[in-house]
């Protein structure tokens, strides 16, 4: 393997690209298909799209838009948001999505994780584990865009998802989302130790050193939003991605 995968994680709402802070305050930053083209040119390791206008609701994924996006994505492409049944999962694979991300549905209908894994193999199923620290500093899993507290321990929850058939865990720190304050390394380390499947860390990355720290903490994939869509201290919208040799040096 060359290096730990570095994955731009893009958020969508009403067909537009947005970025949030702590899962709130979403700001419009551009056109999703344009962003995919740019990330294609930059030869990113992988791309993740989450429709947050959809998550926790029973609105079906926007298959037409996803089909357009997938036809431009020549790297592994993951999608999440509004996926609630196996027919949707099937359709997502058919339009060219490699990995389907389940969050609320995984908690409410765990058998969907198993069904999806039977359909496309575990590697096509990511369970997003969104975590917030409570007032005592303890981690707890949330669903429905962070609005519903499951009061479950993330490591134990991730293990359950692995048993159900998830091939990967997307580990989101809600508290760090959009804050550029670095990944929650303690959380990453704990969950990575608990599961034997790859964990993609998300939430808080500001720069290359954050990526390195999360990889050292055990993450197999490093997702970031702000880091790849904002530039400078005033957060001007600019889509960037590290040069390949930069990443090679970083993970040496």
């Amino acid at each position: 393997m060359l290096h730990t995968r570095v994955i731009p994680c893009l958020l969508m709402r009403n067909q537009g690209l947005v970025k949030t802070v702590k899962f709130k305050d979403s700001r419009y930053i551009g056109d999703p298909i344009n962003a995919v083209r740019i990330f294609n040119e930059k030869e990113v390791d992988e791309l993740m799209f989450l429709d947050i206008g959809n998550s926790g609701k029973s609105v079906s994924p926007d298959f037409e838009l996803l089909s357009d996006i997938a036809s431009e994505a020549f790297m592994p492409f993951a999608y999440g948001g509004g996926v609630t049944n196996i027919d949707q999962v099937k359709r997502l694979y058919a339009v060219g999505v490699e990995k389907v991300v389940l969050n609320t549905a995984a908690a409410e209908r765990p058998h969907l994780v198993s069904e999806a894994a039977r359909l496309a193999g575990s590697s096509g199923v990511i369970v997003s584990v969104d975590v917030r620290r409570n007032w005592r500093g303890r981690h707890s899993v949330h669903v429905a865009s962070g609005t519903k507290d499951l009061k479950r321990d993330p490591a134990e929850y991730a293990c359950e998802m692995e048993r159900l058939g998830a091939g990967e865990i997307l580990l989101n720190s809600i508290d760090r989302d959009g804050t550029k304050s670095g990944y929650d390394l303690e959380l990453i380390e704990r969950v990575c130790k608990a599961v034997s499947i790859p964990v993609v860390a998300s939430g808080g990355a500001a720069g290359l050193s954050d990526l390195r720290q999360a990889a050292d903490a055990g993450a197999s994939g490093l997702a970031a939003g702000s880091m790849f869509v904002y530039h400078g201290k005033h957060d001007a919208v600019l889509i960037t991605y590290p040069e390949y040799d930069q990443l090679e040096r970083l993970f040496k």
Binding site: L2, P76, V97, A120, G121, S196
Partner: protein, 203 residues
């Protein structure tokens, strides 16, 4: 014209998207009759070995592939599980493979203290062992996306076209006569995968 085998178990969207992108005409084939007319065949695949073999067999495609490819010159490219099914069988399942390559699929096994996760998901360079038209004009630094828990182990080193590394070397590409297999996903490997699929289209 490349015929992509559609046997109902996997994502064909990505493969078709990329072939379209590089201007290679492609069609889906799902019956033995359609397959018998194919000039070049891609056998994609994800998921469990037995699922794949069962789906191929139920549709009569396993037998059709064997007779078309083993007794002819039609080039066949197996991708990911499609490559593993070219072998005799897999630790993952009980069913027999296509038997077009003398090889078996084994699971990645690492020491408990190892930090390597299974499936292996990520990008790798290739360590090329033989010259082959499939690798023509590919830059040395070409990298490919892998996503798998099993890998082929070949009887004959002559059938191994390239290795890649994950906790040691494993077979990334096989070649025996008109049969080719890639463990990685060329359709998800940017311009590197495009170059490889171009080469296959030109065979």
């Amino acid at each position: 014209m490349i015929s992509v085998v559609d046997y109902g178990v996997c994502n064909l969207g990505s493969m078709l998207n990329m072939l379209r992108k590089i201007g290679v005409p492609a069609q889906l084939v799902s019956t033995p009759a359609e397959l018998s007319l194919a000039k070049k065949i891609i056998l994609p695949g994800v998921g469990a070995f037995d699922n794949g073999m069962r789906a191929l067999t139920e549709r009569g495609l396993a037998e059709a592939l064997r007779s078309k490819v083993a007794h002819g010159e039609t080039p066949l490219l197996g991708v990911c599980l499609g490559m593993q099914m070219l072998g005799r069988g897999s630790e993952e399942g009980a069913l027999r493979g296509l038997g077009l390559i003398d090889a078996d699929a084994h699971r990645f096994r690492f020491a408990p203290e190892s930090r390597l996760k299974v499936p292996h998901m990520g990008w790798s360079h290739l360590d090329r062992l033989h010259e082959c038209a499939l690798l023509r004009d590919l830059e040395n630094e070409s990298r490919f996306y892998f996503c798998h828990s099993y890998h082929l182990v070949c009887d004959s080193p002559h059938d191994v076209l390239a290795n890649a590394g994950y906790g040691g070397g494993f077979v990334a590409m096989v070649h025996h006569k008109n049969v080719f297999g890639v463990q990685f996903h060329p359709e998800k490997s940017h311009r590197f995968g495009m170059a490889l699929l171009h080469n296959f289209a030109r065979m």
